[in-house]
Symmetry: C2
């Protein structure tokens, strides 16, 4: 996604495309590392030298409310963020702590017990050991 496309994307979802907002969104989509607010702040602070963590938090809150970013609650002491809002799963490696995406659309599965509930968001998380770490352990 180019800067122009990011701007359009933000505007389409009612978010005024200020520089911090564009940069934060760009970071989310180009690194796909599901960063924390702190990681985003550290990554961008050298470029946006007046950036504050408050703005990072404000911006992420705005993105979540505007449905262009979803919070990933896979670890209890940190919230991670993902600009891929399509239904998919997250896999967290217990060794290297990286968070990977995987294709899985929970909403595709008809969960009979939900009868009566009106679902809005679907979240699928798996924890375990990733391929790389499992391989390293064997070496």
């Amino acid at each position: 996604m180019s800067i122009a496309e990011i701007k359009e994307h933000l505007i389409k979802h009612g978010v005024k495309p200020s520089l911090p907002r564009i940069k934060i969104f760009e970071y989310l989509i180009s690194y796909k590392s599901h960063p924390t607010a702190d990681e985003i702040y550290n990554a961008l602070a050298s470029e946006l030298i007046t950036l504050s963590k408050t703005t990072v938090y404000n911006t992420l809150d705005l993105f979540v409310k505007s449905k262009i970013t979803i919070p990933i609650l896979i670890e209890d002491n940190e919230t991670r963020f993902d600009a891929n809002t399509s239904n998919h799963g997250h896999f967290k490696c217990l060794r290297c702590n990286k968070v990977y995406d995987f294709d899985y659309d929970l909403s595709d599965h008809n969960i009979k017990e939900l009868a009566g509930f009106e679902p809005r968001e679907f979240h699928t998380y798996i924890k375990g050991v990733c391929k790389k770490c499992a391989q390293n352990a064997k070496d």
Copy 2:
């Protein structure tokens, strides 16, 4: 589960059955409300008048390590706990904030993209509006 059965359950999983531990575990299984550490503390403080939050946290950590309790990370500012360790899903109502269980065994579904990953824990969360709240909105 009776007190005697709770004791046995704790011992079987390597947890010495002290009074705070028994009471905290009893609270988890009898209320099934997926309480936070704070809610557990408030519920038990009047009975166990010397109870501290540290002990609640220590005990919950011990339960999680001993695999007799799982942390529920459905909300970013709170960790909830569930003594039902079988694979199942959680539904959080965005209106009344209650967390409900539903039958869903993610591990039953063969997730092809996981090839190479070694899964250990499966978590399924859905947010939306529960039956009761949806009904009230119509009244």
